[in-house]
Amino acid sequence: MKLVTAIIKPHMLDEVKTALESFGVEGMTVSEASGFGRQRGHTEVYRGAEYTVDLVPKVRLEVLVDDDDAKDIIDVLVKSARTGRIGDGKVWSVPVEEIVRVRTGERGLDAL
C-alpha cells in the first residue's frame, strides 16, 4: 500500500478530484497548505511598501492506494493538476505499513 501526496494549485482541486473519482478512487484527504518551490513567492505592495510573500497558498491532497494502482494514480494526478505554468506543484508516494478502518477494524487492503 502507498500514500500518494500531491501539492497542487488550489484552483486545480476540482479538476484533480474529478479525475481521481473517474479513475475509481473512493476517498481522499484535502488540506490547505502553504509553501514554495523554485517559483518562490510573489511581491505585494501596501501604501508603497513592498512585502515579499514567500509562502504561497497550496492544496495538499492525500490518497491511500493499492501498490498496483500507485503509478496510474500518480499519472492521473500529474495530468489533471498540470497547467504548464510555474508553481504547478509536486506529487510523491511513500510506502504505508498498516491501514485500519476505524469503524470496523478492517485492516490492510480491506480498509481502503
Partner: protein, 447 residues
C-alpha cells in the same frame, strides 16, 4: 422680544449629522483594524471605542465648557465651569437651534479626533495608558483648540482666536481635527518607538475588506461632519455636501494614479487611503471652494498623501497606519488650499490667491495651521513622554510578540481554525464542565 421658534429643519439636520459623525469612529475602528495584523485587531478597534466611551463623558462633564464657554482671555480657552455637566442647557430656549443639538454635534468631533491618533501606535500600546492619555490630551489639547477654531463670537459671547481674531477659515476641522491628530500621532509614534521587527517582519494588513468597509463608513459619516458644520439645513450645507463628494472621488483617483505609476498597481488600500485623504483635505476648505476647486483640492491631496506615507521610511518613525501621511499632510494641504483656491462665489465668500484675493487669506490659513501644529505637537510630546516614563505606554517585548489582543484584552479577534485556533485543550476542558452541568440538570448527554 418675541421668542424665536425652534427651526425643526435645522435641528433635525444637526441631530442627524451628529449621529452620522458618531458612526465615523466605529468606521475608523474598521479602517484601522483591518490594516493591522490579526493579533492586534481588537486592540486597534478598542482604542477607537475607548475614545468613544471616555470622551463622550468628559465632553458632558467639562469638555463643552472648555471649548464653547465664554472666553477666559485672548481667545485661548472657554470658561470650564460655565456649562459644567450641561445642567443649565436642558430648558427650552429662544434659540432656533437647541443648545443640546450643538453640544451633540461638537461632541462627536472631539471623539473622532482622539481616536484618529491611535493609528500611529498600532500593535504596541497599553490600553490603560491609551485611555489616560486620551483623557488628558482631550482636556489639554483638543478642548482648547476646538475653542480656538470652532467657537465663534456671537452677541455677548466671546469665542476663540483663530475663528474670530485671525479669521482663518477652517470649516469642519482641518486644523482642530486633522493637523491636530496628525502631529499628535507623530509625537506618540516617536515616543513609543518602532514596532519589533519594523521594516523586517511582514506587517501587511490582515483584512482589506474591513479597511474598505471602514473607508465607506467614514465617507458616509463625513457628510455629517462637513455638511453638518453649516449648522443649518441650508444652501451652504448643500454646496459643502457636493464638494465633499467630489473632492473625495478625485483624491481616490489621485492616489490610485500615483500608485499605478510608481508601483505598477492600483490597490484597494490605495483607494481607501485616497478616500480618507480627500475627506481630510476638503474638511477645512469645503465651504470656500467651488466644485471644480474641490476636485483640485482632492486630486492634489491624493497625490501628496500617497507620497507622504513614504516619509516614515526615509525619516525612520513608525507611524504605523499613516496618521501623519494622511491626516497631517492632508490637513495642512486642505487648510492652505483655502488660501489659494477660495472663491467669493462659494458660501464662505472669500477670494484666495488664485481668485485675485492676494495673500490675505493665505497667511491667515498658514498661521492657524502652524499654531495648531506647534501647540499640539509640543503638548502631545510632553503628555506622552511623562506617561511613557511613569506608567509606561508600551507593552513588554514578550507581550508585543504574542500580540496586544492577548496581553491587553485576553481575547482573540478570529477563531476560524478547525481546531479552535489551537485551543482544543481549553475547549475540551470547558466542554467537559458543560457536560457535567448538563448531567446535573438531569439531561441525557450523548457520547
Amino acid at each position: 422680544m418675541t421668542p424665536l421658534e425652534i427651526d425643526s429643519g435645522n435641528t433635525a439636520w444637526i441631530l442627524t449629522s451628529s449621529a452620522l459623525v458618531l458612526l465615523m469612529t466605529p468606521g475608523l475602528a474598521l479602517f484601522y483594524g483591518g490594516m493591522v495584523r490579526a493579533k492586534s485587531v481588537l486592540n486597534m478597534m478598542m482604542m477607537s471605542f475607548g475614545a468613544l466611551a471616555l470622551i463622550s463623558v468628559l465632553w458632558v462633564l467639562y469638555g463643552y465648557s472648555l471649548a464653547f464657554g465664554d472666553d477666559v482671555g485672548f481667545g485661548l480657552l472657554g470658561n470650564p465651569t460655565q456649562y459644567l455637566g450641561l445642567e443649565g442647557l436642558m430648558e427650552d430656549t429662544d434659540a432656533s437651534l437647541p443648545p443640546m443639538a450643538f453640544v451633540a454635534f461638537q461632541a462627536v468631533f472631539a471623539i473622532i479626533t482622539v481616536a484618529l491618533i491611535s493609528g500611529a501606535i498600532a500593535d504596541r500600546a497599553k490600553f490603560s495608558t491609551w485611555l489616560i492619555f486620551a483623557g488628558i490630551w482631550a482636556t489639554l489639547v483638543y478642548f482648547p483648540i476646538a475653542h480656538w477654531v470652532f467657537d465663534f463670537s456671537l452677541d455677548a459671547h466671546v469665542g476663540g482666536w483663530i475663528a474670530n481674531d485671525l479669521a482663518a477659515i477652517d470649516f469642519a476641522g482641518g486644523t482642530a481635527v486633522h493637523i491636530n491628530a496628525g502631529i499628535a500621532g507623530l509625537a506618540l509614534a516617536i515616543i513609543l518607538g518602532k514596532r519589533l521587527g519594523w521594516r523586517h517582519d511582514p506587517m501587511r494588513p490582515h483584512n482589506l475588506t474591513l479597511v474598505m468597509l471602514g473607508a465607506g463608513l467614514l465617507w458616509f459619516g463625513w457628510f455629517g461632519f462637513n455638511a453638518g458644520s453649516a449648522v443649518a439645513a441650508s444652501n451652504s450645507a448643500s454646496v459643502v455636501w457636493v464638494n465633499t463628494m467630489v473632492a473625495t472621488g478625485a483624491a481616490c483617483l489621485g492616489w490610485l494614479l500615483t500608485e499605478r505609476i510608481r508601483d505598477g498597481h492600483a490597490t484597494s488600500l490605495g483607494a481607501a487611503s485616497g478616500i480618507v485623504a480627500g475627506l481630510v483635505a476638503i474638511t477645512p476648505s469645503c465651504s470656500s471652494v467651488s466644485p471644480i476647486g474641490a476636485i483640485i483640492v482632492g486630486a492634489v491631496a491624493g497625490v501628496i498623501c500617497a507620497l507622504a506615507v513614504g516619509l516614515k521610511y526615509k525619516l525612520g518613525y513608525d507611524d504605523s497606519l499613516d496618521v501623519v501621511g494622511v491626516h497631517l499632510f492632508g490637513g495642512l494641504w486642505g487648510t492652505l488650499a483655502v488660501g489659494f483656491l477660495a472663491t467669493a462665489a462659494a458660501p464662505a465668500g472669500v477670494d484666495g490667491l488664485f481668485y485675485g484675493g492676494g495673500v490675505d487669506q493665505l497667511w491667515r490659513q498658514a498661521v492657524g495651521a502652524f499654531a495648531v501644529l506647534f501647540y499640539s505637537g509640543i503638548m502631545t510630546f510632553i503628555i506622552g513622554f511623562l506617561l511613557h516614563k511613569t506608567i509606561g505606554f508600551r507593552v513588554s517585548e514578550e507581550e508585543e510578540r504574542a500580540g496586544v489582543d492577548e496581553s491587553e484584552h485576553a481575547e482573540t479577534g478570529y477563531d476560524l481554525g478547525t481546531f479552535g485556533g489551537g485551543r482544543s485543550l481549553s475547549y475540551a476542558g470547558s466542554a467537559a464542565g458543560q457536560a457535567e452541568a448538563d448531567t446535573k440538570n438531569g439531561q441525557e448527554v450523548s457520547a
